[in-house]
């Protein structure tokens, strides 16, 4: 009893000077529409919670981390292995970044589907778009601070993309790298971005975002048929909170609190179970036995860059992001009024589904990168026995050519080998002998030409082997006119070589 009194007096002493208690209480107890106290409304606060976790763990990591090209990798090793629980703090920060991007994206989808970006919350949405961009900026710069092989070559990819900007490209590259190559200065400036510049922007944007949520009110649960009109919306919203409102604290906040606790627990569980992310090999550009891959949230981009036609790549890289950002910024102005409910916005729902499926597919594809040659398939994956049974000496010679010329880096046989080119298990059914010869020697359809690297004897052997690659019950493809032509030409002998060219597709 006595303690409580003293506590109260101390509180009063502070509040007479700070005068914050009343405005804080007002904000906490402001009325929100009753039906917004929903589990759908917790993702924004979840993103904020993870951001706070990132702030704390980031500061803790900075106690040990050395932002120097020569020392960074070693300091990460020391965090992982020497410093007590350094691995755990790194793991929290790394998994926190994955969760934060997920939370931000889910929050954005929810806001979009609930029509919360419409009048009068346009600016809240726009700041939200900036928040998404700075979050992605944090993700990329954070990946660079984990200064390993992936970070090094990831920077190379970033520089290659930046260099494609017309005229200014080379200057942007030097500005980005802090010098002529990826080196110590590059890491230092990404450290400054990740630790000072982007977090500063992020904190500023978060404050504005929250301020507007408080000033404009939480978006009411969208009801099909209740249309947003600029002239009447604010009065209607006011009416709603008055008639069917409840104080944010404690009526709605308990769900945010529970979800915040749950998400922190999930990050911690991932951190304990999966451990810290990387670092992979040392950032030594003379180690070229590496296949760099970006972190999870940029995998879709990695896939996109492999699958776009070469001529479309530069325009897509330079113009695409600008169009997407402009589109997102203009969204609240293009559809600032009208229906909010996803039940009456089929195009909105389809758009979200399409984007989700696209990103999901690209991310999934990037997981096994079928477009990349398997660099060791030719030396690591043997030709399965069944393809060599009852084969002639020439065909076996061809199998050797097939293996030694690294055909399997791109072509699989018996489900082993690269997936860049088509699988060759039954290639003889698809291509005739002439077509095989032409394809091997001239390439085409994204296959290099091997004319310079195969002697005629090697080509003959290789094609002899390829011709055996067809299912047992199915004959190899055959040029129907070939026998006739050969039979006809046999007595004369001379014109035979000219004929196959005419039968090419």
């Amino acid at each position: 009893m006595r303690l409580k009194e003293i506590g109260g007096q101390i509180g009063e002493w502070f509040d007479r000077r700070l005068q914050l208690a009343a405005p804080i209480r007002e904000v906490a107890e402001h009325a929100v529409p009753r039906n917004t106290a929903s589990w759908w409304y917790v993702f924004g606060s979840a993103a904020l919670t993870i951001f706070l976790l990132q702030l704390v763990t980031g500061i803790l990591l900075a106690l040990i981390y050395v932002p120097s090209g020569a020392e960074a990798w070693n300091s990460l090793q020391s965090l992982n292995h020497d410093v007590t629980l350094g691995w755990f703090v790194r793991a929290l920060h790394g998994w926190g970044s994955n969760f934060m991007i997920a939370a931000v994206l889910i929050h954005m989808v929810q806001v979009f589907l609930f029509g919360a970006y419409k009048f009068p919350r346009e600016l809240t949405w726009i700041i939200g778009v900036f928040l998404l961009l700075v979050t992605l900026g944090m993700a990329f710069s954070g990946q660079v601070l984990r200064f390993d092989q992936d970070a090094y070559w990831g920077l190379g990819i970033g520089a290659s993309i930046a260099s494609r900007v017309p005229i200014a490209g080379p200057f942007i590259v030097k500005l980005m790298l802090g010098g002529p190559i990826i080196a110590g200065a590059t890491l230092s400036r990404f450290f400054a971005l990740h630790v000072f510049v982007i977090p500063g922007l992020l904190i500023g944007f978060v404050c504005l975002h929250l301020l507007m949520v408080i000033k404009l009110g939480i978006n009411e649960w969208p009801m099909p048929g209740r249309l947003v009109k600029r002239a009447t919306y604010q009065a209607e919203y006011h009416e709603l909170t008055k008639e069917d409102g409840a104080p944010f604290v404690p009526y709605a906040v308990w769900k945010d609190l529970f979800f915040a606790g749950f998400i922190l627990l999930a990050v911690a569980a991932c951190a304990v179970y999966f451990g810290p992310i990387g670092p992979s090999g040392q950032p030594d550009p003379t180690i070229i036995q590496t296949a760099p891959k970006p972190d999870y949230f940029f995998l879709w981009l990695y896939a996109l860059l492999s699958l776009l036609p070469p001529s479309m790549e530069t325009p897509a890289l330079l113009v695409g992001p600008v169009l997407v950002i402009i589109g997102l910024l203009l969204l609240p102005f293009l559809s600032g009024e009208g229906e909010k409910s996803w039940r009456r916005r089929p195009i909105a729902v389809l758009t979200v589904m399409l984007i989700a499926v696209t990103l999901g597919t690209f991310t999934h594809l990037a997981g096994f990168a079928p477009w990349s040659p398997h660099m060791n398939a030719w030396s690591g994956d043997p030709v399965p026995d069944r393809f060599l049974r009852a084969s002639t000496a020439l065909q076996r010679q061809g199998a050797l050519v097939f293996q030694a010329k690294q055909c399997r880096n791109c072509h699989s046989l018996g489900e082993l080998g690269g997936q860049r080119g088509p699988t060759l298990d039954s290639v003889a059914v698809r291509l005739t002998q002439d077509q095989l010869i032409r394809q091997v020697i001239q390439g085409g359809g994204n296959m290099p030409a091997y004319g310079k690297n195969l002697s005629p004897a090697e080509t003959t052997a290789l094609v002899a082997f390829l011709e055996t690659l067809h299912p047992a019950g199915q004959a190899a493809a055959r040029d129907a006119s070939r026998d006739t032509v050969l039979n006809e030409s046999q007595p004369q002998e001379a014109p035979a070589p000219a004929k196959p060219a005419a039968t090419q597709p």
Binding site: S68, S163, A183, G184, P283, Q289, K405, E458
Partner: protein, 231 residues
């Protein structure tokens, strides 16, 4: 002015307007204060902007490029392509291993070389040389190049970047110092049109049947279904 005023709660009376129109001592001092700060900011902005842009301007003034030795000609047997490493000429104390750079040296014949950057012309990943198939392959997005560096397949729009080279006193020397990127200066370009030359060679490809340089062919049957020894 009057339109902005109408936003405020109390409409301005004529006395206030008159007072604002006239130059007052306090108003003038405030404007002078702003102007003074503007001047100082401008003065500070010049060195700050120069500092920020120094990584660009330094390269333009002195140039990042210089000639770097790769090793004696004997290290690069004729007709072969070998990996060489060099230390980037522009070094700062915090660079660590990042200044060590790799490149592919192809000794064509005599004093004729080709020195390729390790960076794929698509997005800069490290390409690897496969002597058996005579291709450079990139592990990232599947770019492939022929032995002369020209594009073979995949997303790259051009051939590998080449460094200018010279052979001095039996030492292969290249001009290096900048990360080669697709948008960089045209000095590094290499755009041999491969398809035409192959077609030309095809018509005359009647030479003796040599089985390449892989040792596996010396003992065919022993290696079928196993790793070839020329890994």
């Amino acid at each position: 002015m009057s339109q902005e005023k109408s936003w405020q709660n109390s409409p301005p009376n004529s006395a206030q307007v008159a007072q604002e129109a006239a130059i007052t001592r306090r108003g003038l001092l405030m404007k002078l204060g702003i102007a003074f700060n503007g001047l100082v900011a401008l003065g500070l902005a010049v060195p700050i902007v120069r500092f920020v842009l120094s990584s660009i301007t330094r390269g333009r003034a002195n140039g990042y490029l210089s000639w770097v030795p790769l090793g004696p000609v004997d290290d690069f047997p004729e007709g072969e392509t070998r990996l060489a490493t060099f230390r980037n000429p522009f070094v700062t104390p915090t660079d660590g291993k990042t200044v060590d750079t790799a490149c592919w040296v192809r000794h064509v014949a005599g004093d004729q070389f080709q020195v390729f950057a390790i960076n794929c012309a698509h997005l800069g990943c490290p390409v690897r040389w496969f002597p058996q198939s005579g291709l450079f392959m990139c592990p990232c997005h599947g770019g492939a190049y022929y032995r002369d560096g020209s594009r073979a397949s995949g997303p790259p729009e051009r051939g590998l970047f080449t460094y200018p080279y010279k052979v001095e006193n039996g030492v292969v020397t290249i001009q290096a110092g900048e990360l080669p990127t697709p948008g960089a200066s045209t000095a590094h370009r290499n755009s041999a049109d491969s398809l035409v030359t192959i077609q030309a060679e095809l018509t005359s490809a009647t030479g003796p049947s040599t089985f390449g340089d892989c040792a596996a062919f010396k003992d065919c049957s022993a290696f079928l279904g196993k790793k070839p020894p020329c890994a």
